[in-house]
């Protein structure tokens, strides 16, 4: 069995890429995808721990996270669509009506 550190570092890298995507990308859809990447990193971590400890709880958690991600995407895309209808843009830099 591959030592757990490999999985954890892999997940951490994935998480970091996700964070970087949120911080740097401007397209709302891509920002959203980056967040999904972070959630997937979490899933990898859960499964790695679950496998390591022979404990099923972590894998159950993963199912919930996946469900949740789906729900979030559903709502998120709806909001993005609504936004696009009004603003004709999905650039996060354009969302600056509310500030200070």
């Amino acid at each position: 069995m591959l030592p757990i550190e490999y999985y954890l570092w892999f997940a951490a890298a994935l998480f970091a890429i996700g964070v970087a995507g949120v911080l740097l990308r401007r397209n709302v859809i891509i920002v959203f995808m980056s967040i999904e990447l972070m959630l997937n990193a979490v899933n990898v971590t859960f499964i790695a721990f679950s496998r390591q400890m022979n404990n099923i709880d972590g894998q159950i958690f993963v199912f919930f996270v996946m469900t949740l991600a789906a729900a979030e995407v559903a709502v998120g895309l709806a909001i993005i669509v609504a936004m696009y209808r009004n603003k004709k843009s999905i650039n996060v830099q354009d969302m600056n009506l509310l500030k200070w």
Partner: protein
């Protein structure tokens, strides 16, 4: 052979949540038939909140757990759940008028409020990080929609999208933290974590707990996790803002307290310096920026950040009395803030142009009673004696200073004195400036009047005779220590 066993007590324990969930779906369904009848929708939603609240209060607070330690019924959970349900009920009463005047009255509003409340109830009554997390997400997703409720308005869109992106981002951190906690304890159950005492891996434990705290710091808006809050509060429909500002804060703080104090009692002392710092920075930043606001909703948003800082003192102190002070203050904060937003929503007008201080000039002459109520809420938020703002702050401050947090309280007192400036400014404008223009407001409807009266009464009652409720809060927190 597996022995299937379903214990009725488990379901009895979750009755409030079940009533709320079924009610929420029922309202969605009723929307089909009751499209025209707004009053029925409103009162149905209100009745559901009342039923859930009475079921909640009728439960025993013995600390019984259900569904394999997934949820726990104790006085702590009951106290905050009651805060949430009262807040939900008041928001239902306040919402209809606001939505009708903007021609946006839909049944979804009520059912989303109910779903959000279910989420919060799970957050505060859950004993497993999984349940707490799911509750948090149910709450968040409902709120994303509620914030973006006016889907043809840019402000609403932008607030919702910001909230969604940052909320999901913070959820990522929270989940990552839960994963590491799971890695270091082999379980996500707070009770098991508590019994285990020490983790298998100290590093994992610390990373896990820090990231969980990031998630909750985001929800309660501690600096530097607060940036979303002013924008979202400003862009959201005003009743929703009031709902978010009070109930969500209560639920998130309660979940944070339960995780920290119940799950990781050994860690509190270690975290103290960081909490101290977060508390001091949060209240200062919130107050100082609030001084510069001209939009009332945004001012109240920064004031909410400042209040998160005051409440954080209770976590910093880390004793039962500190937590009790927080609970009591959260109860009081519910009434003063929902009341303040109720007045804001009444005065802002259909096109929401009357949100700055100037438009409050001279309103006291035309609307003496509502202005008086607003004055009371502002005084309460500023912490004037005889209001709950004073008793609550006073209790937290004395507790903290008794534990030796002198400098933190020096900062807190200084802050609350600064804050008087911007709260009182509203009062000054209402009473001391000449009326700018004659504007006719449609008279407040009965439900909103009832809600406002309840808020006024509660602010005064808790300010003058807080004794029983402080005692109750003290009993409640003993459940998580």
């Amino acid at each position: 052979m597996i022995d299937f066993q379903i214990v009725p007590a488990d379901f009895y324990l979750l009755l409030p949540e079940m009533v709320l969930s079924v009610g929420a779906m029922l309202l969605l369904f009723l929307e089909l038939f009751l499209k025209g009848n707004k009053t029925v929708q409103q009162w149905t939603a209100f009745a559901i909140f009342v039923v859930a609240l009475s079921l909640l209060l009728s439960q025993e607070s013995s600390g019984a757990t259900g569904f394999g330690m997934m949820v726990r019924s104790d006085l702590f959970g009951q106290f905050i759940s009651a805060v949430v349900l009262i807040g939900g009920g008041l928001t239902v009463l306040l919402g209809k008028e606001y939505l009708v005047s903007r021609e946006w009255h839909r049944g979804e509003y009520y059912s989303l409020l109910l779903f959000a409340s279910v989420g919060m109830l799970f957050m505060v009554r859950g004993l497993d990080l999984l349940v707490i997390f799911l509750g948090l997400e149910l709450l968040s997703i409902s709120l994303y929609i509620l914030v973006g409720y006016f889907r043809d308005r840019l402000f609403s869109n932008e607030a919702a999208l910001k909230y969604l992106l940052l909320g999901a981002f913070a959820s990522g951190f929270l989940l990552y933290g839960i994963a590491y906690t799971y890695g270091s304890y082999g379980t996500t159950n707070l009770n098991e974590i508590r019994t285990m005492g020490s983790p298998e891996s100290m590093t994992f434990h610390w990373i896990g707990l820090s990231l969980i705290l990031v998630g909750f710091s985001f929800k309660v808006a501690l600096v530097p996790f607060h940036m979303w809050l002013p924008d979202v509060y400003q862009g959201a429909p005003t009743p929703v803002t009031g709902f978010m500002a009070t109930t969500t804060k209560a639920a998130a703080f309660a979940a944070m307290l339960r995780i920290l104090f119940y799950g990781f009692p050994a860690d509190i002392a270690e975290w103290m310096p960081l909490f101290w710092f977060l508390s001091a920075v949060t209240m200062t930043v919130g107050n100082v920026i609030a001084l510069q606001q001209s939009n009332l909703k945004r001012m109240l948003a920064y004031s909410a950040i400042a209040h998160a800082g005051y409440l954080m003192i209770g976590v910093t102190v880390g004793t039962e009395t500190g937590a009790a002070g927080m609970l009591f203050y959260l109860l009081g904060y519910l009434f003063m803030n929902i009341g303040a937003f109720a007045v804001v929503q009444y005065f802002e007008g259909k096109d929401e142009t009357r949100l700055d201080f100037e438009s409050y000039a001279g309103l006291a002459k035309k609307h003496p009673l509502i202005s008086l109520a607003m004055t009371l809420f502002m005084f309460a938020l500023a912490g004037f004696p005889l209001t709950v703002g004073f008793t609550g702050k006073f209790y937290i401050f004395t507790t903290a200073i008794n534990q030796g947090f002198v400098w933190l309280i020096v900062i807190a007192v200084l802050n609350s004195l600064i804050s008087v400036y911007y709260y009182l400014r509203v009062v000054i404008y209402m009473y001391m400036k000449p009326l700018e223009e004659e504007i006719e407001f449609s008279p407040m409807e009965l439900p909103a009047k009832v809600a406002l009266t309840v808020c006024v009464y509660a602010v005064l009652h808790l300010g003058v005779l807080p004794g029983n409720f402080i005692t109750l809060a003290r009993e409640a927190v003993s459940a998580i220590f």
